[in-house]
Assembly symmetry: C2
Homo-oligomer: 150 residues x 2
DNA sequence: TGGTTTTACGGAAAGCGTAAATATG
DNA sequence: CATATTTACGCTTTCCGTAAAACCA
């Protein structure tokens, strides 16, 4: 199964017509036809009845359609989330500390850090052998200060 | 974007290890690597931090992961629905009537039909020129009787 | 006959595996 | 040196468009 096929299914439901559905999806009409057939074969059920001048969704088709809409909606929201993260010029900070020290250090550092730099994404790792601190920045201010340790 | 990529993302979250994630998905490990990179490029955001001996999900990655799980769950349920429809040996009946007669006929026929044959999928069409009735059956009894008209 | 969908087939693109390279401890 | 991930490259599969055929009003 493929997200593209689900788009064809939704477009076909909206248009009740293969030609217009293909137009909306920006592909040729045989593509919609073959891909929908493939989807039906994969699911093992007829999703639509091809009645001349009308496309009727079967019961199975209506269930699949509802799920397809939800799926595509989730995909759109995933893209929206990602775009938001991308735009925000997030600074990311990865911080590794000794496991033995973590319980003492982190409760002091983390809340102050989040309060001071809400836009900075904080990644914590417990490491056995090293104490290191790396800052990536794709943006303006690199908040190095205030993080040197106790 | 592709459903397969989302499966790789989820597997990687479960395993926190590219090699094991690939194994679970039944593909080679470079495939998981390249496909995940492709997904990140498409979304424009880093989803995971590749720390040696550990895979850490970024904030963006965690959001995407949650949506990926929901999407794949919907897909699984879609397959389940379809399988149920396929197994049930559904009989489908397509019935066309004159638009002028429909209001008089259907209120009598449809409820009795559904009551009598709950497993039969009923498809109604309003046609201008014909009165036709077709029954497909992939199963045992073809319920032709009781449908000849008013 | 006109409009719609399906089938057939060739070309373009994407997915994948093997092997080599890179990074890390 | 051993483990884990990425890059490179070729092969296979899938997707898609054009053209022709089938279907129906």
């Amino acid at each position: 199964m493929n997200l593209r096929e689900l788009e064809y299914l939704v477009a076909l439901a909206d248009q009740r017509n293969f030609r217009r559905a293909a137009e909306i999806c920006g592909v040729s009409q045989p593509t919609v036809s073959t891909q929908l057939k493939k989807l039906e074969e994969e699911l093992g059920v007829a999703l639509v009845e091809r009645v001349p001048r009308n496309v009727i969704f079967t019961a199975a088709g209506q269930e699949a359609l509802a799920r397809a809409r939800r799926i595509l909606d989730e995909v759109a929201q995933m893209r929206g989330d990602a775009a938001r993260h991308g735009e925000s010029g997030t600074t990311r900070l990865r911080l590794g500390v000794f496991p033995t020290l973590a319980p003492y250090l982190l409760p002091h550092i983390v809340p102050r850090f989040i309060a001071g730099f809400p836009d900075v994404e904080l990644l914590l790792t417990e490491e056995k052998a090293i104490f290191w601190c790396v800052v990536w920045s794709r943006a303006r201010s690199m908040p190095r200060f205030g993080l040197a340790g106790p």
